[in-house]
Amino acid sequence: MAFTLYSLIQTAILCTNAIAVLHEERFLSKIGWGADQGIGGFGDEPGIKAQLLNLIRSVRTVMRVPLIIVNSVCIVLLLLFG
């Protein structure tokens, strides 16, 4: 149960990677979580599902390039230092 800050960083990288690899057409649309299926009613309340889909889409857009960099750094470091 001993968590270190390093394991927190690892968890964060893994989770962000997991969200970023959810493919839009091949997967999300098939289960009804596509980007166009989130914007249901145009009322004042987006609702939880719409917020989630928004979150997934924004993580994919925003974190794409930083994740490439961070993953490359991780790969190099793990290869060098095990």
Partner: protein, 303 residues
């Protein structure tokens, strides 16, 4: 060359002398009384004798151009570095906002600690505002602060070390592990709360630092529980922890209710509707997570 040796002797002599000069200058003492212990070894003894009368006046440090230049350069470097650090730090951590959370005084801390342990008699939980900005914690007991969470965190680490020490399980690395473990759980809790607040689209003025403050209030209960466990054994630990868990639960619900729920619902009127129900569940979930963490972070300390 003569000049350089002169300055180097003066440096070696003057450093300890400046430190020792807390007392007023009784320069009637012979030079041997000061010089003997600081420099030592024969080569300096030679130059010491004839430099001693000059060495007393502190101005020789400043009139020496080499050290003068070094001092000026060092101070300019230090001020440059300080400017750069301040400028960059302000971009990441809003220092002025943090200062608000540390504007506490003893009366506030005492009352807040009492409120954390016994929140059942307090009636008015609203944070008072002053022209749109919340009042500093010194003037309003309901305002969140960061002093108690910070002190509580550090005290929790120390108490954990104490508890492990009484069971002969202590080693200095354990302190670091406890600290990083508790910090990681705090970060996870704050991130989970932020995520759930985002998903439920709550229009609230709770900032991240507020959430850190609220998450940090449980350390007080944890410390009291562990101390009771050290003094009175497992029974004392369980009873005290139960009491503190219940009071933190009530405290969190009453504080967060005003911030997360809408106006009408916060006043106790039963407002129907899925939105308010969801918000109520969110408040209860946040409040219920506190006792869970309190138990999780302390049960391995009391055997």
């Amino acid at each position: 060359m003569d000049y350089s040796t002169q300055s180097e002797f003066r440096h070696r002599k003057l450093q300890p002398k400046v430190r020792m000069r807390g007392t007023p200058m009784d320069s009637s003492e012979p030079s041997l009384l000061f010089d003997d212990t600081s420099t030592g070894g024969q080569p300096s003894g030679h130059g010491r004798q004839d430099k001693a009368p000059l060495g007393y006046a502190g101005q020789t440090l400043l009139s020496d151009p080499m050290s003068n230049l070094a001092m000026a350069y060092g101070s300019s470097l230090a001020s440059q570095g300080k400017e750069m650090v301040d400028k960059n730090l302000d971009r990441f951590i809003p220092i002025s906002k943090l200062k608000y959370y540390f504007a506490v005084d003893t009366v506030y801390v005492g009352k807040k600690l009492g409120l954390l342990v016994f929140p059942y008699m307090h009636e008015n939980w609203e944070v008072s505002y002053q022209q749109d900005t919340p009042v500093a914690p010194r003037f309003d007991i309901n305002a969140p602060d960061l002093y108690i969470p910070a002190m509580g965190f550090i005290t929790y680490i120390l108490v954990a070390g104490l508890a492990l020490g009484t069971q002969n399980r202590f080693s200095p690395e354990i302190l670091g592990m406890q600290a990083s473990s508790a910090l990681v759980w705090l970060i996870i809790e704050v991130l989970a709360t932020l995520l759930s607040l985002y998903l439920v689209t709550v229009n609230t003025d709770l900032t991240t630092i507020d959430l850190v403050a609220f998450a940090g209030y449980k350390y007080v209960g944890m410390i009291i529980g562990v101390l009771a466990g050290l003094l009175f054994g497992k029974m004392g630990y369980y009873l005290t922890l139960l009491w503190c868990c219940a009071s933190i639960f009530v405290f969190m619900i009453r504080t967060l209710r005003l911030k997360i729920l809408s106006e009408a619902a916060a006043e106790g009127v039963l407002v129907r509707g899925a939105k308010n129900q969801l918000r109520m569940y969110l408040t209860m979930a946040i409040a219920a997570a506190q006792p869970v963490f309190m138990y999780w972070l302390t049960f391995h300390l009391v055997r």
